[in-house]
Each structure stands twice: as C-alpha cells, then as structure tokens.
C-alpha cells in the first residue's frame, strides 16, 4: 500500500468542523515522533494518516528489517524500477545531496545502500505536508529531534525551538525563534560516532553537533548530516554557500561557531 499526500488534498467541510488541537507521541524508526497541532488544529483522521505514513516509511526503508524494500533492493532482489515511487524519490534526493555536498552526504555510508540519513527528515516533511493538505495552519512535527514547523505557535507568536546542548544533558545551547522553517541537528550525543566521513572512511568527530535551519526538513536534515561529516571549517563554509540555510556548530570543547545569518533566527543561551 502506498500512502501519499495527495489523498488528503481536499479536506471536507465535515473534517474541518471536527478539527481540534492535537498532540500525539508515536514510537517509530527506533525513535519517538511528536506531533503538536495548534490553533483550530487538524482533522484527527489526517493525524492518524500521518502516523500511518511514518510507519509505512519505516517498513519500506528500514535497513534493519531484512524484508524491507530497501533491504531487498540492496541485496539485488529488486530493481529500482520495481520499488515504490517514494523509494525512487528518496534515492534521487540522496543522489542530489551527495553531489551537492561533494560526496560528504554518502549514498552508502557504511558500505551498503543506506538512505537512512535522509529518510527521517523527508518523512517528517511529508507528514507535515499531509497535515497542511488536511487544513492545518499551525503545527510542529518532530521526528526524534528533527523538526518541521508550519505557521506560528499562536497568534503573532513564532515557534520557539530549543537546540539541545550536545554536552550538557537537558540544557539548551540556543533557541531558534521562527515560523515555517525546519530545524535539524546531527551529533554524537545520542547514538555515538555514527556519521562517517566518507573521504576518510572514519567516524566524523571534529564536532559535537551541528544544527541547520532552513525551509524544508529533507534538505535541512541531509545538510546537517553532510556538514557534520565535513567538520567545523568546511561544514560551516559549505552551509554558508547554501541558499536559505544557516547553521550552528558546537565543538567538542563546548565552543560554538555559526554561519553569519544564524543569529537572525536564534539566540545563543550562553
């Protein structure tokens, strides 16, 4: 079964009348997704559909489940043309991200096809689009720390996104204040040194974390992964050259560096 955003492009009047603020927390992809729809909110059916979509993405793209489409593709049991359109789309995004980042965003970071670096951000972006199509004008979809924001948190009040301090549990290193943006963070705080610098063939370790702010989460998430693999000098210079993206880097010493426009979005807490 293939769920797509287009199925929800025409919210009915009855759905709109049933709309209400919604808050959901869902385990998926080995992490936790948090969904927070404000204002008049959104049709609960659309929220359920967005949750189903995330689980479908997990089943399809998982590199842990041997029967997933991506696992079978990786083993050569399926051709790209035999995969769902969504798989071809993600592989296209992976290719674009790899080219745009001089290979630092890798198609096969661990020696086998693994689009995991882009799938979660892309899935969240799409889930957010599904809610918009269902009439939501104000929501956050947070996939394990990668965030797509739509509209404002309240009338005249932009969303406030805390950036977790990678070296101090439960503390924030910055607060991004913005509407209609995406925020993604790559780092070693939760899962260790899992991002590989494909040019050295070794784990990237010159940064504690890098946080990227930009319009859409799939690209923002992939950019954060690429910038993390590049390290602070090259990573920040590269983000500086990407239209619409800004970044905050936290070094292993706790020192912070950021692109010139980052402070237009965010205040550092120190």
């Amino acid at each position: 079964m293939s769920l797509t955003a287009t199925a929800y492009a025409s919210p009915s009047l009855t759905a709109a009348l049933r709309a209400t603020p919604v808050r959901r927390v869902e385990e998926c992809m080995g992490t936790v997704f948090s969904l927070d729809a404000r204002g008049v909110g959104v049709d609960p059916d659309a929220v359920d559909a967005a949750i189903r979509w995330l689980h479908w993405v997990d089943r399809t793209f998982s590199t842990y489940q041997p029967d997933s489409v991506v696992s079978r593709l990786s083993r050569g049991e399926l051709t790209v043309d035999e995969c769902p359109a969504e798989v071809r789309e993600v592989l296209g995004l992976v290719r674009v991200a790899s080219i745009a980042s001089d290979g630092y965003f890798s198609e096969a970071p661990h020696g086998f096809l693994d689009p995991t670096g882009i799938v979660k951000g892309w899935a969240v972006e799409r889930a957010s689009d599904m809610l918009v199509a269902a009439g939501s004008t104000s929501h956050v979809v947070n996939g394990g720390g990668d965030v797509q924001l739509v509209g404002e948190a309240g009338a005249g009040r932009p969303w406030r996104v805390g950036v977790a301090h990678p070296l101090r549990p439960r503390q924030l290193v910055a607060v991004v204040t913005a509407s209609d943006v995406a925020v993604a963070t790559s780092g070693t705080a939760e899962r260790g040194r899992h991002i590989v610098d494909p040019h050295r063939g070794a784990p990237a370790d010159a940064l504690a974390s890098v946080t990227v702010v930009g319009p859409r989460l799939a690209w923002v998430d992939a950019s954060a992964t690429a910038a993390f693999a590049m390290g602070p000098d090259r990573g920040l210079a590269w983000i500086e050259g990407q239209p619409g993206l800004e970044a905050l880097a936290v070094l292993p010493t706790g020192r912070t560096r950021h692109t010139t426009g980052f402070t237009q979005w965010a205040a550092l807490t120190d």
Binding site: E27, G145, V161, A164, P169, R170
Partner: protein, 147 residues
C-alpha cells in the same frame, strides 16, 4: 493542570539523580536511588482547573527519595505554567561530608530545572534520540506537559 504537575515532577525526579550522582563521589559505590524513585506526587493544594487565574502559586512535593547518603523530597512551586522555585524538602544526610556534597549539587538541580522552564520552548531539536533516551529528554517533558 494536575497532569502537568505530574509531568514536571517526573522531570524533577530525573534531575534529582544529580544529587545521587554527586553523593556517589563519597567513598562507597552504591547506585543512587534518587533517580529511580517513581515520580509519584502528592499535590498539597488541589490543582486549579484550566480556567483558574494564572498567577496563583501552587506547591507539589515528590515522594521521599533515599540513598546511602541522604534522603530528601523535591518540592516545586508552580505559578501558572511556570516552575518558579525548586527546593529540597526534608533533607537528612548521613554525615557532614554528605551534607556538603548534597549542598553543592542543589544549585545545579535548581538551575537545570529553571533553565528548561525559562527557555519556554515549544519543541526541541537535537541529535536523534533512541526510544529509551527520549524518556529522559526535554522533548519528553514538553510532550508530557502538553498531552
């Protein structure tokens, strides 16, 4: 409101681990129990309904947490939706050293809790947490407060 208080106490109970951790710097190595206490709470004053005036301060006290070096309860004062004060109630320590160590840890506990509150954020971006580490995260505290 009641559920909100419980969520906050869960957060504070987690932070209470700081104290146990500090105390473990003392000679023996016994796992601190402070962080393992369930965040069951006794709400001293009945929590107000959503429509109640926001400025009214309420106090809630967590269950007594005991480890080898001290026993204490975490007491939080909530005004509207903000924690305005974090205190340790009924602190008893085994000896002078434990008292000093616990005393050093207290400001950290208070600062961590108030930092998270005063930041007043809607959501948190960070390195992808596991299902398990989510339970200890600020995002989890925000979700619990909002659910």
């Amino acid at each position: 409101m009641r559920r909100f208080l419980y969520a906050l106490l869960g957060t504070v109970a987690g932070l209470g681990g700081l104290i146990g951790l500090k105390a473990n710097l003392a000679p023996a190595e016994t796992p601190a129990q402070a962080a393992e206490q369930p965040p069951a709470a006794e709400v001293e004053q009945p929590p107000a309904d959503a429509g109640a005036p926001a400025g009214e301060a309420k106090t809630a006290t967590g269950d007594k947490a005991t480890n080898q070096y001290e026993s204490f309860q975490v007491k939080v004062t909530v005004s509207g939706k903000q924690i305005t004060k974090v205190e340790i109630a009924g602190l008893t320590t085994k000896d002078a050293k434990s008292k000093q160590v616990t005393g050093d840890a207290l400001p950290k506990l208070q600062k961590a809790t108030l930092d998270a509150q005063s930041a007043d954020v809607d959501t948190v971006s960070g390195a992808t947490y596991t299902t398990k580490s989510y339970q200890e995260s600020l995002q989890s505290a925000l979700d619990q407060a909002g659910l």
